[in-house]
Subunit: 295 residues, 2 copies
């Protein structure tokens, strides 16, 4: 069996209200990742903006851009210059009154290989995403790049085993989760450790259940919006197909460049061949919202 190693770059950064500054700083980090050998670089959710969903403000829709807007165009030029794949999450304006939490996968020629529009949309205190983003209609389909088949998802998707499974069943090799998650001040002392640990655990479980690589890229820093404040917890990470965390960032700005040996997917699935034993005849209820059926 041939050995295929992919070098994955994860750009974990703090964001300010200076959009241009966020973009320029991120481009520098992408260049550095490429210098260190990364062929696939993943940016964090809504990477060039503060996480603006702490409050509902119709004026914020002015920040949305089309698929060929300035943010994507800048990253497209950079991907082509560096001959790498870049995963670019951004605030997409699709039409009047129709915006998405979107990412595009840009190929090493700068061309857009795929578009993913976040499918699972949260609406929790300080995460008012249902106000800004329509639920995606892109479904769960991996994209083939010169450096591997990628399954792209965004943040809240990470709590849904269905999304990870669907991408693995569609032959993805690496799941990528651009993310913006952090602590709410009032909860941190009591729940902070458990929340972070649960978040890491879900990524590991997706890796294990599917025998697949999983990477998440989170932002860091404290962001305020009106009376709200979020402390983004960082801890961007990569899990191997056995669910081991093979790289993990801290809670400040950091660039991870991580080798992923795709051959380990084959090794892991020979040990634990879960796909062989799925009971697809008995999973119909997964398409229901709820069932009160008991026995």
């Amino acid at each position: 069996m041939s050995r295929q190693v992919v070098s994955l770059g994860l750009v974990q950064r703090a964001c300010s209200s200076d959009r241009k500054g966020n973009l320029v700083g991120t481009c520098e980090a992408v260049r550095e990742a490429a210098r260190r050998g990364a062929t696939i670089v993943v940016l964090q959710e809504l990477f060039d903006l503060p996480y603006f969903c702490q409050a509902r403000d119709p004026a914020i829709f002015d920040l949305a851009q089309p698929l060929d807007g300035a943010t994507v165009s800048t990253m497209s030029t950079l991907a082509k210059e560096l001959s790498i794949v870049v995963i670019v999450p951004f605030f997409e304006r699709r039409a009047s009154g129709l915006c998405h939490n979107t990412l595009v996968v840009l190929g090493p020629d700068g061309v857009r290989l795929s578009t993913y529009r976040k499918m699972h949309i949260p609406d929790d205190p300080q995460y008012s995403e249902k106000f800004y983003f329509a639920p995606g209609d892109s479904g769960f389909r991996p994209v083939t790049t010169p450096f591997g088949r990628l399954g792209t998802l965004i943040c809240w998707d990470q709590w849904f085993p269905e999304a990870a499974r669907l991408l693995a069943l569609a032959n993805a090799q690496i799941l990528l989760y651009p993310t913006a998650i952090g602590w709410i001040e009032a909860e941190k002392a009591q729940l902070g450790d458990a929340q972070l640990d649960a978040w890491k655990t879900m990524h590991r479980a997706h890796a294990i259940a599917n025998g697949i690589y999983v990477a998440a890229v989170n932002r860091v820093g404290i962001e305020e919006q009106g009376d709200s404040k979020l402390e983004f917890w960082g801890h961007s990470l990569v899990c191997d197909p056995a669910g081991r965390i093979i790289a993990e960032a801290g809670e400040s700005e950091q660039l991870l460049v991580v080798d992923c040996d795709l051959e380990l997917i084959e090794v892991q699935r020979r040990w634990w061949p879960f796909f062989r034993d799925r009971r697809i005849d008995a999973y119909g209820g997964l398409l229901d919202r709820f069932s009160s059926g008991e026995k």
Copy 2:
């Protein structure tokens, strides 16, 4: 909101070839659990037998019993005497040439409340279960007991997020996994820690993704069958709906009695209401074996 606390007993034991001895010893442990306040007691997979699936031997089918056989009858008498619920996994003979890896849930009056026949059947080196057990046809349905709604699964099921999700969507409050899992001698040094950690991680992830209690009851001890040898790793555990491990056994015989506050299910799901946001319109591929569809 009313507070409902369930006391869960987990009986982690070593098994010998003395079936009667296994049964008597387990009955003593169940009595002890009840004395300590447990109202639901869970036994390990195939609790009254050595884990006989290390080899394929047609003579072993002699050990299978019907639903009203000696093993279940003994436990039924005990459940009634103690007025508790007992989960009894056993080697079921359903008909000539048709056996299952089964469990029954016995109510506090000794009556069988439900039957679960293991749905996902492994067939790995030293776990030759496909030789002995037909895949179950019971599906994934919780059972209502006087002490809570239980979702019962068995061992290999724990690697399948689908099974946990289906039971949670059918309103289970606690998932119970009688188990027989251990280390193969040749692998332990290299893979042992990762295997145990992956196993624990999956239970935690089921708890988190579904906002539900999860408990697993594993056996301990070294068992030999022909040239094969397995070292069962114990570590029976209970996870709360936030995925925190609230009780965990070691690697020798142990009885855990653990309080589960079912109100925490409501609390957890208000924080992280994943059921609200599932994309049931886009999950159809979960009913496929595989999909090579890419974009």
